[in-house]
Assembly symmetry: C2
């Protein structure tokens, strides 16, 4: 099955551009000997970069020329209308045509979502796509969604997110019955607004391949209380960015604290390796960016400011999701909830 897999890559997206993508590919190609890649972008630039790899990419990577690229600050609606000759559009088109089974871009998030919706459509039974993200916890990792695709969510969408989250968690981490929690302002059944209470009611009565843990609070997410944390896209986006801010603030305080005395300076010098490891662990680029879940293919958004390590990790994630059959799982799990939702 792995022999069948091709990943389509937007080689012009992100702040760093094609050189980061090609060095990422040099890593990925060795880790996944059965996977093929299509690179979309400026063919002169790409062929030059590939030539430097001295035949390492031969037979594994093909280049497709795209005349333009979507800028990071272009509006999704503008990109959708005016950038059909871009590397991003063509990268998605390769998936739509069936040539590739997954697409990865470090480019404009809104444009990726808009073009993905337009070209690929939604998974059967899912009303809205979501952006999922994987964060570190005290016990391992947690899949968090929605991180910003939907600023307002009804209970049906929250149920969709829970289903997509458990399917992602199973495909990425091999958990047979992921623990799923709905993020709320308290753990009692009466807490929160109607959408979150109704979603909990539906999930409690469903027979999905998950362990539904009910409501969790903000502090429970990073404790590792659940494998999947579900919330609306407004809260998820603010929390995701807040977490980036918290990591930076703490690094800033730590730096200040360690400079205060000769003793602590010396200590910091001795512990430099450990502190660097910590900084890497908290670097958002390490988490493979966002997973655009709910679209009719595997779509992974690498962090816009990523380096080749981060981009390679995003490609690994796309491969894991495609091989794990995440979208088939979502279709069948969503269908399992449907009759009850209609009956109620």
């Amino acid at each position: 099955m792995a022999g069948e897999l091709t990943v389509s890559i937007d080689a012009m997206g992100g702040d760093a551009g094609p050189s980061v993508v090609v060095s990422a590919l040099a890593r990925t190609i060795q880790r996944h000997p059965d996977v093929k890649f299509i690179l979309h972008g400026d063919e002169t630039v790409l062929n030059q970069l590939i030539a430097k790899r001295k035949g390492k990419f031969a037979g594994r990577v093909s280049v497709r020329h795209a005349a333009t690229r979507v800028a990071m600050d272009e509006k999704p609606s503008f990109a959708l209308r005016r950038r059909r000759d871009s590397s991003l559009w063509h990268a998605i088109e390769s998936v739509k045509s069936g040539e590739a089974q997954a697409v990865v871009s470090a480019g404009n998030t809104g444009a990726l979502m808009a073009m993905g919706m337009y070209q690929l459509g939604l998974i059967d039974g899912i009303s809205r796509p979501a952006i999922a993200s994987v964060w570190p916890t005290q016990r391992g990792q947690v899949v968090v969604l929605d991180c910003g695709a939907n600023v307002e969510c009804d209970s049906e969408q929250l149920v969709d997110f829970a289903i997509m989250g458990e399917a992602l968690s199973r495909a990425l981490f091999g958990l047979p019955k992921p623990r799923v929690g709905l993020v709320n302002v308290g753990q009692e059944e009466v807490k929160g607004h109607e959408a979150v209470r109704n979603a909990a009611h539906t999930l409690r009565q469903s027979d999905l391949p998950m362990e539904f843990c009910g409501f969790i609070e903000g502090n429970n997410i990073l404790e590792g209380a659940v494998d999947v944390a579900v919330m609306d896209g407004f809260t998820g986006n603010v929390v995701l960015k807040m977490l980036e801010g918290a990591a930076k603030l703490i690094a800033f305080f730590l730096k200040g604290a360690l400079k205060r005395s000769l003793m602590s300076r010396l200590g910091a010098l001795l512990a430099a390796g450990a502190l660097l490891a910590l900084r890497r662990k908290l670097d958002p680029r390490a988490y493979g960016g966002g997973l655009m879940v709910g679209l009719n293919s595997v779509v992974v958004k690498a962090h816009g400011g990523t380096d080749s390590v981060g981009f390679a990790y995003a490609v690994d994630t796309a491969i894991d999701l495609a091989l794990g059959g995440v979208n088939d799982a979502i279709v069948s799990d969503r269908a399992g909830v449907r009759p009850e939702a209609v009956a109620s």
Copy 2:
């Protein structure tokens, strides 16, 4: 003016109870020689604790007996009906009667809010109270609200929160024109849901003693981009608890990283003082808990798990807010927005 100030204290609230409150008071009483205090709670216990202070409290602290206390897990509606003989109820009553000008409790947040609403009522022109919190940033501090009093907020409430936030920021930090930002999922005018866009519209056209910075994102809050960050209570509560979780996760990672090698263990030993200072800086107890703003008096909620340092800080905050005339400022600022809101 300071000579007139009396602070009413619920001495039975919080996990630690009256001994923490009395040691906190021993600190506060020296810092504020003109302020008087009323302690509500079990008079036998309180008089014993005060007797140990050998006359230090004489003439400054009076004790009022309360037969019961509100438990930390009691429902607000139950507490409101059944705990009118509690230390919390009586502490608020002292403010209502005019004997005291501010009230502090480390007890049940929901019960404090419910009893506060019932006994004190709302500030003229404010439709809902909010819970504000003060967080550290890379540039100083930021007032964040609402941290959980209102799970759903319309634009009028977000405007109220912005006004209450700037008034708090002026009273606490003496900033003449605090920078105020509305938390959203992007900085462009078209981003977010209707409530947040309409609130921005009203604030842009108002002539309040603040510098309205428009929309900010989650990462901007801890960078120190604004002095006041406004959001709905659902998002604010999740973000506040997430921040506690992030601080714990990073402490956990740091501990792990520093234990990995002999070098880093030695480094950690030398830097122990600096690391302890960092841990204190990130301890939520250090931030004086929540400010219940919008009620017709100064109401401060100390963190339930606080120690005497944290409780003393909460009392300091209550004194600053009362002396700073925060509620008078809210009344006049809110009145300044009213005509425009009606006209639109």
